[in-house]
């Protein structure tokens, strides 16, 4: 029977019960006094009557008499023999019968359902509770009104449990009162409270909501998304049953989800006025989640993560997702199902991907998939096309992840963190993501590889995340880099070299080395075609390494200060600007290294005359451009020295 009271009355009653705890105790204890308890039936007799005459005959024989003597039953025999059926000899008769049964291996029939059969049957019960159930005698209540009483009791009971002394204040506040009201509506007004499963779900959700609200003091929204969540769960209970919903709401992290939904308002413009849509979407996603709790979505944080990710994407993307459907199903849920399936498939083929694919990683992958699909009209045409689109993205990511080499410094958790961050950043570029799924994966691979290189020299995980982000933002903001295909990773890996260079690490700090990497990425963005050609000729690494070695000589400590980063930037930008010199084989990266090294020596000599931290980068820029414009053999030291002297700025 659903709650027969009006909601305002019910809420006031709950508040009263909570306030007057003693009354609640009395109501609860009265309820308890009619609890189901086990009681044994009277013992069942054995059917001894048919055996009396045979027993008398037996003990009349010599063998029988011997047994009487051995067992000391002669007195009983003498008492029974004259009148076996007299009332005063029943005890003796019983002893004689037992002796007779043992001697003749007789088992008298039980006058009732077989005791042995019963014990066998009862013992088959899968649990002690099931076996005990055989003996339970239930009792009807002593109170008058069942459903309303139980709902009110359960609510007050739960609020007291979790809210403690502030339980009555909790329900007095309009916002949290509204929470209880929405739960009562979904799980007591609309549902049958004779179903114990529904009652348990109500109590679990109410408890979680109370705790979540207490964890977000003052942050509860006026119209929290949590109300829609409760409504969606209520619908799910109707369609899938209480057990299905119970598995969801008792999952680790569900309380976190409620907390997030409490502070997240359903008043956001993108969510209004279509709340039924949000409820439908949540219901579809929860159903999907409930059917995958043994897989990825069963991992900590996954459930809350994907739901929040979905809702966030629904309200923040340029193309509205909330009311998009594919084959009649909400887009968010369809993508979730596709992402789950494709992730599991990819995990089966790529061992390393399988190892990093936990709840958080899947949430990031889901978010990227959602963004990718949302901006791709062709992918939304049919479920098959959508799945294919998602499959392309996920299998590409799995392939890139599979190329990463783990070692004692670059561990699985680190890889996971970086991969997640890469997906999150690239997810901020939905247009890019939707059209360059495979390239997205390459970006991720390049970013992670760059970070792996940095791990050798004391960067923190947050530094690595920053590096990863830089790669992803640079690549996704410059569509021409998509033309680089696999060469992108080669280039980025070479740029990551300064991060781990031992020579540089004695010159500048880790933070400055990070800056070198960022400037290298900027140089890549400024001239992707040339760097792409460099990569095709395997020139990127020797070029960058050579420049680094030259800078690491740091004559006179010129580069120990702020000059290093701009110097590096100007050199490699100039090298790319006049990159044709390398590509036409007019000179080599080694020659450039010699020139830059010598230029620094010359610059040291000009310190105090015309060179300082400000003019040094300009000088090096001039040198590189001039050298590449008209390359010569720098091994001729005299020629190089004179040439450099001419390049030095004039005295200030």
């Amino acid at each position: 029977m659903p709650l027969p009271l009006a909601l305002p009355v019910a809420l006031s009653a709950i508040q009263s019960l909570v306030k007057f705890r003693g009354r609640l105790d009395t109501i609860l204890s009265l309820n308890q006094s009619t609890a189901s308890l086990p009681f044994a039936l009277p013992p069942v007799p054995a059917d001894d009557a048919p055996h009396v005459e045979p027993m008398l005959t037996f003990f009349g024989t010599a063998a029988g008499r011997d047994i009487l003597v051995i067992r000391g039953l002669e007195a009983d025999w003498e008492a029974v023999k004259p009148s076996p059926f007299a009332g005063h000899v029943q005890q003796s008769l019983g002893r004689l019968l037992r002796a007779y049964y043992e001697s003749c291996d007789i088992r008298p029939e039980s006058l009732g359902p077989s005791e042995e059969g019963n014990r066998v049957f009862v013992a088959k019960g899968p649990s002690k509770e099931m076996r005990l159930a055989y003996y339970i005698v239930e009792s009807e209540r002593l109170s008058r009104n069942p459903a309303a009483t139980r709902v009110l009791l359960a609510a007050a009971d739960t609020l007291l449990e979790f809210g403690g002394a502030n339980a009555s204040l909790f329900i007095a506040h309009p916002r949290t009162r509204a929470l209880v009201e929405s739960l009562l509506t979904e799980f007591a007004v609309k549902r049958d409270w004779d179903d114990a499963g529904g009652a348990q779900i109500f109590k679990t959700l109410l408890g979680s909501a109370v705790v979540a609200a207490l964890e977000h003091p003052g942050s509860c929204a006026d119209r929290p998304v949590a109300r829609v969540l409760f409504a969606a769960l209520g619908d799910l209970q109707t369609s899938m049953g209480a057990d299905f919903v119970a598995k969801l709401v008792t999952r680790d992290g569900f309380q976190t989800l409620i907390g997030r939904c409490l502070v997240r308002t359903a008043d956001e413009p993108a969510l209004l006025p279509d709340q039924p849509v949000l409820q439908e979407i949540m219901g579809a996603m929860l159903r999907e989640a409930g059917e995958n709790l043994d897989g990825l979505l069963g991992q900590p944080g996954a459930l809350a993560g994907v739901l929040e990710c979905g809702i966030h994407a629904a309200v923040t993307t340029a193309a509205p997702l909330l009311d998009r459907k594919v084959a009649g199903q909400p887009l968010l849920a369809v993508v979730l199902k596709a992402a789950l399936g494709e992730t599991e498939k990819a995990a089966a083929s790529h061992a390393l991907f399988a190892r990093i694919a936990d709840g958080r990683f899947f949430t990031a992958l889901y978010g990227a998939s959602l963004q990718s699909v949302a901006d791709h009209p062709a992918a939304l045409a049919t479920q098959a096309k959508l799945r294919s689109h998602v499959a392309g993205l996920i299998s590409a990511c799995a392939g890139e992840v599979g190329k990463v080499q783990l070692n004692e410094t670059f561990s699985l958790p680190t890889l996971r963190v970086l991969a997640i961050r890469a997906l999150e950043v690239v997810g901020e570029q939905p247009e890019f993501l939707s059209r360059h799924g495979e390239f997205t994966a390459r970006i991720m691979g390049a970013a992670v590889s760059a970070s792996a290189a940095a791990l050798k020299d004391g960067f923190t995980t947050s530094d690595l995340t920053e590096i990863t982000e830089a790669v992803v933002r640079t690549a996704s903001a410059n569509l021409s880099l998509a033309e680089l295909d696999d060469r992108l990773q080669t280039i980025v890996a070479a740029f990551a070299q300064p991060l781990a260079d031992e020579g540089l690490s004695v010159v500048i700090t880790a933070g400055r080395r990070k800056e070198l990497f960022h400037t290298a990425l900027e140089a890549l963005s400024a001239n992707p075609a040339v760097w792409g050609e460099f990569a095709g000729r395997d020139m990127v690494q020797p070029l960058v390494a050579g420049v680094i070695r030259a800078l690491a000589t740091n004559p006179g400590g010129l580069l120990s200060g702020p000059a290093l980063v701009p110097a590096f930037q100007r050199i490699i930008e100039a090298a790319a600007r006049r990159g044709r010199a390398f590509l036409d084989e007019k000179t080599t990266p080694e020659a450039l290294e010699t020139v830059v090294t010598a230029a620094l020596v010359a610059a040291e000599g000009a310190v105090g005359v015309s060179i300082d931290a400000k003019t040094l980068p300009d000088f090096l820029d001039d040198v590189v451009l001039a050298f590449l414009a008209a390359p010569f053999d720098p091994k001729v030291q005299q020629t190089l020295g004179d040439w450099l002297q001419q390049k030095l700025p004039a005295a200030a």
Binding site: S29, Q90, G125, E138, G163, N166
Partner: protein
């Protein structure tokens, strides 16, 4: 907000961890009563419920000894001391105490509490207007005591006592107005008493077969077994009465009613075969 001002969040979270502890302090009477019942269930289980591996009938539980239900009884007495007021909860525990004595064969103590158990019936009136389990037990406690006591007699066990007890139980159940009878799905007190009466009818048959009037046994069997069967049948569904008891009914019948269904069919079978 002021109600969030102090560390109620920490208190509430600690409350989750110390769930039962919180509940005990907030509703102590209910918690204490529940604890008594838990002890009773635990001790009942040890005495009567076979473990999954114990299917050997030779190791069937022996009749309860003097120490049986010791913790339950202590808890009942402690509850009475703590909550001295006359309440339905105390009445319930009085009935429970009486049933403990019956089940553990302590008929002297059972006789000693007979007046209190019978008077407890007055506190066990349901607001629904229906007669509930504990009230039925209380009102018929004296009769039950007579029947249980008779089963344990060493000498002079009398079939007429069993017949009287069974008849009295049947009459008591018949005396409950129809509109006051609880639904058997919600309350099995009447079904329990009906089956107890059936057991006593069977005892009567057993005893008459061992008495000077044993030639009456076949005729009495037909009458008593039919009465017993029909008495139980009043509280069973048609499906349960028609069920094929030779198959395992565990998957279909509610486990808690299974023993009554087994008794019904056993009696029916015995009536069918001379």
């Amino acid at each position: 907000m002021k109600y969030f001002r102090f560390r109620s969040a920490a208190a509430a979270i600690a409350g989750i961890v110390l769930l039962s502890g919180c509940l005990n302090s907030l509703t102590p009477k209910a918690a204490d009563l529940e604890r008594v019942q838990e002890l009773y269930v635990e001790e009942f289980t040890v005495l009567n419920v076979p473990a999954a591996a114990e299917v050997d009938a030779a190791r069937a539980p022996a009749p309860a000894a003097g120490g049986a239900f010791a913790q339950s009884l202590r808890a009942i007495h402690a509850y009475r001391a703590k909550y001295p007021d006359d309440t339905p909860e105390r009445a319930h525990l009085q009935v429970l105490e009486g049933m403990i004595y019956l089940q553990s064969g302590r008929f002297g103590l059972a006789a000693a509490v007979l007046p209190q158990v019978k008077s407890a019936a007055g506190q066990l009136t349901s607001g629904t207007g229906r007669v509930v389990r504990d009230r039925l037990f209380a009102e018929n406690y004296g009769v039950l005591l007579d029947g249980w006591t008779e089963t344990r007699k060493e000498n002079n066990r009398d079939w007429q006592t069993f017949e009287r007890v069974a008849n009295q139980l049947a009459q008591a159940l018949a005396a409950v107005p129809v509109h006051e009878r609880a639904s058997v799905e919600a309350d099995q007190g009447a079904l329990y008493l009906a089956t107890s009466a059936a057991v006593f009818y069977v005892w009567a048959y057993r005893q008459i077969g061992m008495s000077e009037e044993r030639e009456q046994a076949p005729a009495k069997k037909a009458v008593w077994f039919a009465q017993a069967r029909d008495l139980i049948g009043q509280y069973l569904t048609d499906a349960e009465k028609r069920a094929d008891i030779s198959r395992d009914l565990g998957a279909d019948a509610p486990i808690g009613r299974l023993r009554y269904v087994q008794w019904y069919h056993w009696l029916d079978e015995k009536l069918a075969t001379p």
